[in-house]
Symmetry: C2
Subunit: 370 residues, 2 copies
C-alpha cells in the first residue's frame, strides 16, 4: 500500500490575548504522508485518530510559557496535543493490541507512531513553571470496545476527562448533601451535565445556567430544577430569586462567580473548575468581581482544582462506578458532532472556545472511522 | 455607699454604609447610676469593666439585621456588646469569685450585673439570618490573674480572641511549613502579630504589610523578613519582587488579596480572616478584584473563617500552648492605650475602624482599675 496523507494540526504562533485565530495561531498541515504498513514502530504501536475532543484547556496550553498556569504549553511548529479517541492499527507492544480503542492525550494528526515524541521533546520538567502539571501525563489508555452500546465519542465526555473532572470534584469539594441547593454554571457542558446528574442522584436541588435555549431544554431534561439562559436572565436576578445556594460548581468565572458569592449561605462550598467567560478576554478587559469580601463574611471555601489534584483519592472509584451507570442508562452523555473531516478542525477549536456555540452536548470532531 | 455613675455606650442608629459617626450611631450615656453594694444579683455576679477592646467585628454588628453576615446585630437603644476585661466586684454564683478577672463579650458599661440580658433580649435564634453566629456566645470566662507578669490588656490581644483567631487559622488553614513563604496583611494588628510569631516558630519566611512606618518597624522586630508600608509601596510591586507566596493570611481584602492571588504558587492556601479595607466603604465604591480567575489557574484554596469555626478542633490547644509561650517570653503581645476614660470610647471605636491609626499594637481603652 502506498503512503497515505497524514494531516495534522500544527501550532505555529502564540495568541497574546483574546480568541486565537484559526489559520494563524494553528493551521492544518497536509504536507505529510505516512506508510501505514511499513513505518517503523520501534517497539511501539501505530494509532489512527477517530474522534477529537476540543476542550478549554487547549487555550491555556497556547499561552506564553513564561505565564504560570496549570499546564505545560504547546511547542511552536509541533502538532497540538489534546484529547482524542484512537484505534490501534499496528502494534509491537505486548500490552496494546490491534483493534483496541484508546482515549487520552495524543497529537492531533491522522496517524501517530506511539508513544509520540514530537511536541514533547522540549518538555523538560526542570524548565516548567512552578506547579505546572504536564497534561501529557494523561496519556492514551486502552478503553473497552463499546460494541455499539454507546458512541465512541462518549469517551471524550462522561467516560473521559470531563466526566472524571465532574466525579472527583463532586466527591472532593461539593460533597453533595440531600436537600442542599447546587448552582452549576455551564450546565450543558460535558463537565456540567455530569455534575448535574451526579448531584441529582444525591438528592440535591439544582440551579444551572447555559447560553442558549437548546441548552436550557437539555438541562431541564437532565432534571435541573431551575435551568436558565444567562443571555436572557442575569445570574444575579435568577440566584436572588431562586437562591440561596449551598454549593457552587463554576465552569465560567466572572459574573457567574460574583453572583454566586452573593447568593451563598454561610459555609458554602465552591468548586472552581473553569474560567471560560474570561479565558479569551484580555486581562485589562476582564470582568472584575465585587463580592469577594463575602468569602470572609460567609466563611466560604472556594477551591480551584484540575483533575489530577483528586485522582489519587477518587480516580479509581470513577472507573468502577461511572461506566456501569452509563451502561445501565442511569447516566446520559450527549455529544454534538461539529466537524467530520480534518479541514473542520481549526474552526472547530475556535467554535468550542468562542461560546457562541449554542447546541447542547459536548462538541466533538469525528475525523476517522475504525 | 451612694450609687455611682454607670456610664455606658449605647447603640442608637445603624450606619448605612461608610464609617459610623461617634455621637450619632453610638453615644456615651452618662445618665445611669448603680448602687454597687445593693444592686440585686439574682444569683449572678457584678463586674467592673477595666479594659475595652475595639475590634472590626463591631462594625459588622452595626449593620442592618436583614443583611446576612457572620454575626447577630446590635439592638437599637441597648448598650454595645463587645470584648473587654472585667473584674468581679460581688458574686452570688459559686463558680465566680470576687477579685477574679474575666475576659469575653460584655456590655460596654462601667458596671454590669451578669449574666446581662439587656441587648440580648431580642436575640431570638429563630430570627437570625441563616448561618449567623451569636457572638454573645463568646461570653465572659474567668482568666488567670497575671499578677503583673503581663498587663491585663494582653487578654484582649494574644491571650484573647485575636490570639485565638491567629492560632486556629494557622492550624486549620495555613498549616505553615518550614521554608514556605507566608504573606500577612495588617501584620501589626493583634491577629497579624501572632500569625507572624507562630509562623516564625514554624520556620516560615514572612512578607507582611501595614499602614505606617512605626508598624513596619514593629513587624521587623517580630522577625518579618519583608515588612512594608502599603502607603509607600504597592502590594503588587512588593509581592512581585519578593514572592511568590505559598500561603496568605488576609485581614484586609481588596488590593492585598488581589495582589496575593497573582503572587501565589500553585495550590496556595489563603486564610481569609478580615476585610477591613472595605468594611467602611459603600458597596458600589469598593475595589473590584481582577485576579480571581487565578483561583482556578493556580488551584488555590481560599477559605473565609471566624474563630468559632475552628474552636472544636483547635481551641483547647490554644489554651494549653499560648499562655505558656507568653509566660516564657516566647510570644510577645503589644497593646496601645488609645483612651483612658469612658469619654474616649466613642472616638476610640472610630479610630480603630478608620485605619488612619498609625501606632503599632492592638488598640485598647482602659476605663477602670481593679
Amino acid at each position: 500500500m502506498a503512503p497515505v496523507a497524514n494531516p495534522r494540526i500544527v501550532f505555529v504562533e502564540r495568541p497574546t490575548s483574546g480568541l486565537p485565530v484559526a489559520g494563524k495561531h494553528f493551521v492544518l498541515d497536509t504536507s505529510r504522508t505516512i506508510d501505514i504498513e511499513n513505518v517503523p514502530l520501534n517497539g511501539g504501536y501505530l494509532t489512527k485518530t477517530l474522534v477529537l475532543s476540543p476542550e478549554p484547556a487547549m487555550r491555556e496550553r497556547m499561552r506564553d510559557p513564561s505565564v504560570p498556569s496549570y499546564t505545560t504549553t504547546y511547542t511552536l511548529g509541533a502538532p497540538i496535543v489534546a484529547f482524542a479517541v484512537v484505534v490501534v492499527v499496528r502494534s509491537e507492544k505486548e500490552s496494546v493490541k490491534v483493534g483496541e480503542y484508546m482515549y487520552g492525550q495524543t497529537p492531533w494528526e491522522a496517524y501517530t507512531v506511539q508513544p509520540y515524541t514530537e511536541g514533547r521533546i522540549t518538555f523538560k520538567p526542570e524548565e516548567w513553571a512552578p506547579g505546572t502539571f504536564d497534561m501529557d501525563s494523561l496519556a492514551l489508555q486502552v478503553v473497552p470496545d463499546p460494541k455499539g452500546t454507546y458512541p465512541l465519542s462518549t469517551y471524550t465526555n462522561i467516560m473521559g476527562t470531563p466526566g472524571l473532572t465532574a466525579f472527583v470534584g463532586m466527591e472532593g469539594i461539593i460533597e453533595g448533601k440531600e436537600g442542599e441547593t447546587l448552582f452549576v454554571s455551564s450546565g450543558a457542558s460535558g463537565v456540567g451535565s455530569l455534575v448535574i446528574q451526579l448531584a441529582k442522584m444525591k438528592g440535591m436541588r439544582i440551579i444551572a445556567s447555559a447560553g442558549s435555549d437548546a441548552k436550557v431544554e437539555y438541562m431541564r431534561s437532565l432534571g435541573v430544577d431551575v435551568p436558565f439562559n444567562y443571555n436572557k436572565e442575569s445570574y444575579e436576578s435568577v440566584l436572588s430569586k431562586h437562591g440561596p445556594i449551598h454549593t457552587f460548581w463554576d465552569n465560567i468565572g466572572a459574573e457567574a462567580l460574583d453572583a454566586a458569592l452573593d447568593a451563598s449561605v454561610a459555609h458554602g462550598r465552591f468548586a472552581i473548575c473553569g474560567t471560560v467567560a474570561t479565558d479569551n478576554v484580555p486581562l485589562e478587559e476582564r470582568y472584575r468581581l465585587k463580592n469577594v469580601f463575602q468569602i470572609m463574611k460567609k466563611r466560604l471555601t472556594v477551591r480551584g482544582f484540575i483533575v489530577p489534584d483528586f485522582i489519587p483519592q477518587f480516580g479509581a472509584r470513577f472507573f468502577q462506578e461511572v461506566p456501569a451507570l452509563v451502561a445501565q442508562g442511569k447516566l446520559r452523555s450527549k455529544e454534538t458532532i461539529i466537524g467530520e473531516k480534518w479541514e473542520d478542525v481549526p474552526n472547530g477549536i475556535i467554535k468550542m472556545m468562542s461560546s457562541g456555540y449554542g447546541h447542547a452536548g459536548k462538541p466533538v470532531i469525528v475525523v476517522g472511522s475504525a
